[in-house]
Amino acid sequence: MSAEQILFWVFAAATVGSALGVVVLKNPISSAMSLVATFFFLAAIYVLLWAHTVAALQVLVYAGAIMVLFLFVIMLLSLNEVGSAIQLSFSRVLGAVATAGLLAALVIAFRKLPAGDLAWANDPARVAAFGSIKEVGAVLYTQWLFPFEAVSLLLLVAMVGAVVVAKSRI
């Protein structure tokens, strides 16, 4: 087993385990901390996929900014008391069955995919450049410049909207 395979299985198991923690843990703060752990493990998986730039963004934006926002809201609403246990109900059982069905369908579909020979990776120069900030930035600021600017407008609208919705009186 190569080092990459060991790292993949360790981080994949940690990702799935901490993601299950988000769903299973009763205390919302525990769920949020479990989600932070999931984001960090996922960033490690992204590095294994040679996506270093996105991995750094994942830690900065998700584990940093978004999770701080979540924790602020949880503490603002003082929801840290433990809620009631999850009771079985018809809709919940139905939801679990639907999820299991979707997972089974996806696994069956993905098993039929060819493994992919990664033929392009035989060129060491391309592998070294792939996913670096230089290459991602070059594509982002030339080919995808307009969507990039549109996203900045979207963030502005979301910011104004969040203030308008959350403020009791303007």
Binding site: V22, L49, G83, L106, G131, V139, A158
Partner: protein
């Protein structure tokens, strides 16, 4: 292939597992904040799929898609949490079973 890389379907199955865990949380949990966290999990599963195919094809455009998903998730979290605060202020609860004024 000059080295032993993890095949792409492994990453896709991890993304499928992550998406299904998020979907289970959305369907089973009743706390609106936890439901939001599970939506973030599903968005991350989509990101993982994009990055897996980006490496498979040697095309960095998948990284751009992941970048945009992260930006949209940040906007979604800001607006969603503002709505949760507004609902909590008017109803005093974030349990989505007790918020059913719009239920037909």
């Amino acid at each position: 292939m000059p080295f032993q890389a993890i095949p792409t379907p492994h990453y896709l199955m991890l993304a499928a597992a992550l998406f299904c865990i998020g979907m289970l949380g959305v369907l089973v949990r009743r706390n609106a904040l936890v439901v939001f966290m599970c939506i973030e999990l599903m968005l991350n599963a989509a990101n993982l799929t994009f990055l897996a195919f980006a490496r498979d094809r040697g095309d960095v455009t998948g990284h751009i898609s992941a970048f945009f998903i992260i930006a949209v998730a940040a906007a979604e979290a800001a607006v969603g949490l503002a709505i949760v605060i507004a609902v909590f202020r008017s109803r005093g609860t974030v349990n989505i079973e007790e918020i059913q004024t719009m239920k037909h």
